[in-house]
């Protein structure tokens, strides 16, 4: 197992090569690399061939619909799923889901999952010897509103160790799953909290080699969301990839 210092060297070398490519006129990379050797589990799981260009057709121009039959309003509050209050910092995470043209993605499904305040998941594969919180599962769902806004009440997750390299720790994060108005906008990502000292050390976060693209995954502390004597608040907006179907519709339909 390599040390964190060796891992830092691998991450830095890829970052420096990217920076010099960009300053030589290379394209900005807004998505993670699929082939990113510092994240060891990716070695045998990334395609080696270029992704093949496809113009979306048929069902790809539409997304599945979800409604209040699918998602209850209480599912957006991860702190009320058991008999008592969970341990940790109660926090509200909210923001908007937009498409690549800035239009709100309305009444669409957002799913989240996360570790508890001690960095432990309710998952049989999680071996981290931190306490399980009987009052916190760490799974939530909601539908965006007409403005594309989602809102969850949860507990700020803790960082947790993993086995990528010696003394590897993930920065605290919430896993997010989003749907757009078209199937090709489907995305899963992770939201981070500002100022985490583990950012520079984490190969999953650093697999997005562009610093500005990484920062778009970091929520902003927002005191206007923070609630008096109740919860801290963070804002995090999500932009999905561009839509296609709407481009073909008459302008008045989405004016």
């Amino acid at each position: 197992m390599v040390t964190q210092a060796e891992m830092d060297g691998e991450i830095a070398a890829i970052g420096a090569a990217y920076e010099s490519a960009v300053s030589a006129g290379g394209a900005e990379e807004t998505q993670p690399r699929l082939d990113y050797p510092p994240y060891r589990s990716s070695l045998l799981r990334h395609p080696t061939k270029d992704l093949h260009h496809a113009d979306p057709e048929g069902v790809e121009l539409w997304a599945p619909a979800f409604g209040h039959r699918d998602v209850g309003t209480l599912e957006a509050d991860l702190t009320i799923q058991h008999g008592g209050e969970p341990i940790g910092e109660r926090t509200v995470v909210t923001g908007r889901v937009l498409d690549g043209d800035g239009r709100p993605v309305r009444r669409q499904l957002v799913e989240i999952w996360q570790a508890n305040a001690g960095g432990r998941y309710i998952h049989k594969r999680d071996q981290h010897p931190a306490a399980i919180d009987p009052n916190f599962t760490g799974v939530g769902r909601c539908l965006t509103d007409d403005d594309g806004t989602y809102r969850f009440t949860t507990i700020k997750p803790g960082p947790y160790p993993w086995k990528n390299h010696r003394n590897a720790w993930r920065p605290a994060h919430i896993h997010f799953s989003m749907f757009g108005t078209e199937f090709t906008q489907r995305m899963v990502t992770q939201m981070y909290f500002p100022g985490d000292p583990l950012f520079a050390l984490d190969p999953i976060y650093q697999s997005i080699v562009d610093p500005r693209a990484r920062e778009r995954l970091v929520a902003t502390y927002d005191h206007d969301i923070t609630q008096h004597e109740w919860a801290t608040g963070y804002r995090w907006d999500i932009v999905l990839t561009g839509a296609h179907r709407t481009l073909m519709e008459p302008e008045e339909e989405h004016a």
């Binding site: 993670p32 994240y39 992704l51 260009h53 496809a54 057709e57 979800f66 561009g242």
Partner: protein, 186 residues
């Protein structure tokens, strides 16, 4: 500030990680129609990595038209009633890398369009989701996308008929690597 005002650059994806099993799968997730219904077919296969080993922690989602080619816009995928066809489903791979859906055979959504099932792949170790298509076996000569793919790789986009329906294996890397798709504006 995490995102400058007016910045509409798409948010980066990240891996689904190892701990999605208690969050994303749900009862009935892979049953677009109840198994055993007269028109139900199985769409199944194995996800393999670059060494040919099964991937036991992948998650697949499918999205498809109904047999008439109609695209459903009905809610209810998360709480299935057994009668409403929503066109969407989700299945995690098991310890042997195998996934399985109960669904119906999709119809063509337009003239000259070969029917296919749109597939999204997520996995631990996969830093961003991958898109592909599972075409139904048959006459595919007129299909634009298939025609644009090198002949020796075309078969990776076509399901194989079997006793219960269709088999569609996915190879993330290496020999027989599945053709994964990139769309404009992404």
């Amino acid at each position: 500030m995490s995102r400058a005002p007016g910045d509409l650059t798409p948010t980066a994806g990240q891996t689904v990680g190892p701990f999605f099993h208690y969050a994303l799968p749900y009862p009935g997730d892979s049953e677009l129609v109840p198994p055993g219904r007269a028109d139900a077919v199985r769409l199944h296969g194995v996800v393999r990595d670059g060494a040919g080993d099964p991937v036991p922690d992948a998650l697949l989602e499918i999205w498809q038209a109904d047999p008439s080619g109609a695209i459903a816009q009905e809610p209810g995928s998360l709480r299935r009633d057994g009668f409403t066809f929503t066109g969407w489903g989700r299945a995690a791979t098991d310890a042997t890398g195998h996934y399985s859906f109960s669904t119906v055979t999709p119809g063509a959504t337009g003239p000259g369009q070969a029917p296919f099932v749109a597939v999204t792949v997520f996995a631990r170790g996969l830093l961003n989701r991958l898109f592909t298509r599972a075409y139904l076996p048959g006459d595919l000569d007129g299909d634009t996308l298939l025609a644009s793919v090198a002949e020796d790789r075309r078969h990776t986009l076509v399901a194989v008929a079997d006793e219960q329906g269709y088999r569609f294996d996915i190879r993330l890397q290496g020999e027989g690597e599945t053709v994964f798709l990139r769309h404009p504006r992404h």
